[in-house]
């Protein structure tokens, strides 16, 4: 495990899961890979399949319909996998806390979570900071 953690810090591949968000955190995540921020400089890369990923970025309140699929995605991912909840929605529901279609507020109800980055939406700098802080805790 220690060996793996040493390697994963060099270059992490993230997979983006959108689970009933307002689309705002999603476009900020996409913003990260475009020339404005360009996180590929740090070796962080957005991948198309969950099987290639080291970190899952989950956004939004998880609705009842999408919750079983999120569990499936988590089971499909190669372990160890780290989960980061992006946005206040995943941590506390934000403005949707009284919604009738929320299954995952907080996200721990659905899948295990390693870190939350709060904000509505969090700034791209905050997301980079969140990912790097999570990596800092690995030994």
């Amino acid at each position: 495990m220690a060996f793996y953690n040493k390697i994963i810090k060099k270059s992490i591949w993230v997979f983006h899961v959108s689970a009933s968000p307002c689309n705002n955190c999603d476009i900020e995540i996409l913003d990260l890979i475009t020339p404005g921020y360009d996180i590929e400089r740090f070796g962080i890369k957005l991948v198309g399949s969950v099987r290639h990923a080291d970190v899952l970025l989950v956004t939004g309140i998880v609705s009842y319909k999408v919750a079983p699929r999120i569990k499936q995605l988590y089971e499909q991912a190669a372990k160890p996998i780290f989960v980061i909840g992006i946005g206040t929605c995943t941590a506390g529901g934000a403005t949707f806390k009284t919604s009738y279609n929320k299954a995952g507020v907080p996200l721990e109800k659905v899948i295990p979570v390693n870190a939350y980055v709060t904000g509505c939406p969090p700034k791209p700098e905050a997301m980079i900071d969140g990912v790097l802080k999570l990596l800092g805790t690995l030994k």
Binding site: S18, P21, C22, T34, S63, V66, F96
Partner: protein, 405 residues
């Protein structure tokens, strides 16, 4: 030929958002598409009945992060429609400015993703690079990059700082120049042209029958624009409504580029007006009387519709919301059938629903010729040159054409 069923989604590398498409194909031809919605359902209409009017505005802002000014715009219109509230002139200009800057950033976002869908990643990186300064303007004006929270019943919640005007003008100049460049590229680039021209045609009759609106309808020759038809704030501004006749994906792309240029002109008119018009920016409304009101606004994707029924208390009795994609997405039934599968994806994306991002990679080895990727690159360059001769009839590249102008 036997039919084959291709399920797409809900979590698929092609789709940024969870959405499920059930595509039936015969060979490469799409014969039927069914779509299953409900993955993103959050129940805004029910939540809004438990919030006060001021809180409702911040709630509807979070329907969509990309058009997060359009929904408050329409919701405040609906609340003001009940009592015929008058809005101070300065507040009207601030509203228009925020709305038009949002249209610019939303259309740039779509342009980039459309480029990504057809495998033209350069366009994606370019347009998102030009989008970044727009978001920085939002941060300076309102304090946040995406949810601006500028709207209140009877005006706006914070004033515009006139000291920012000299910083904004260069960004608008840059955007206009770059959009002319992209319009030139769309006009001259043979690859872009042959990939988009005549693809996914939505005829005028279908657009009317499916009640399409916004850029989807305007690219099919239907002349509707809520900004002009409903008036209100936009009576202060001179602008043109752009209508194109063909209804294919190419026209939708060109229409959005031209609309960005038009929005830049509107934003300039607002910036010119700000120093001349002082005074109050909020007409405080303490009570909304019983009744019903309809408000609408031309969002980047089409007409946003809000209906509010009040019983005189501090909360809405019923708050109906209709986003433009709700009317525009069903048009895939008219535009996607009978076209190849590869074109269906850009056609689905052309109405600008809120899903995005394609991931594609291909590695081909021909066993007989032993051709590898670098050979493919040469082959593709040769093919581009051939298409260029066939389609454009001229040897000039887009960059040459721009330098000529």
């Amino acid at each position: 030929m036997s039919k084959c069923r291709i399920p797409l989604g809900p979590f698929h590398p092609l789709l940024e958002e969870a959405e499920f498409f059930d595509i039936k194909v015969e060979g490469e031809k799409v014969v039927d598409i069914e779509m299953e919605t409900g993955w993103m359902h959050r129940g805004h209409e029910k939540i809004s009945e438990t919030r006060s009017y001021t809180q409702s505005i911040f709630l509807v802002e979070r329907i969509c992060g990309i058009c997060s000014t359009s929904h408050p715009f329409a919701a405040t219109h609906a609340m003001e429609d009940i009592d015929n509230v008058e809005i101070p002139e300065r507040a009207q200009y601030i509203r228009i400015f925020i709305g038009e800057m949002e249209r610019i950033h939303s259309h740039l976002l779509w342009l980039g993703l459309a480029g990504h869908f057809i495998g033209y990643d350069t366009l994606w990186m370019w347009t998102w690079k030009y989008r970044e300064p727009v978001l920085q303007i939002f941060e300076k004006v309102s304090g946040n990059r995406n949810h601006y929270a500028m709207f209140r019943v009877g005006g706006v919640s914070r004033d515009f700082d006139n000291a920012l005007i000299p910083e904004i003008h260069p960004v608008l100049d840059m955007l206009e120049k770059k959009m002319l460049m992209i319009a030139g590229a769309a006009k001259d680039d043979p690859v872009l042209r042959s990939r988009l021209k005549g693809v996914g045609v939505l005829t005028k009759e279908d657009a009317i029958n499916y009640c399409a609106n916004g850029p989807t309808a305007r690219a099919s020759g239907v002349d509707i624009d809520v900004r002009r038809d409903d008036g209100l704030e936009y009576n202060l501004i001179n602008f043109d409504v752009i209508v194109l006749p063909n209804g294919d994906v190419y026209d939708k792309l060109v229409l959005r580029v031209l609309e960005i240029i038009e929005s830049v002109k509107i934003a300039r008119q607002c910036l010119d007006a700000f120093p001349k018009i002082g005074g109050d920016y909020l007409n405080k409304v303490k009570h909304i009387s019983p009744g019903e009101g309809i408000g609408r606004y031309e969002a980047p994707r089409g007409e946003v519709f809000h209906y509010i029924r009040s019983d005189g208390s501090n909360r809405p009795l019923r708050h109906k919301i209709r986003a433009p994609s709700f009317s525009n997405i069903p048009t895939y039934k008219a535009s996607c059938l009978g076209i190849p599968l590869a074109d269906a994806l850009i056609t689905l994306a052309a109405v600008d629903p809120c899903y995005c991002c394609t991931e594609r990679s291909i590695r081909v080895v021909d066993k007989n010729n032993k051709k590898l990727e670098h050979n493919l690159l040469t082959m593709s360059r040769e093919k581009t040159a051939n298409i260029k001769k066939a389609v454009a009839g001229s040897e000039k590249t887009p960059i040459d054409r721009i330098f000529e102008d």
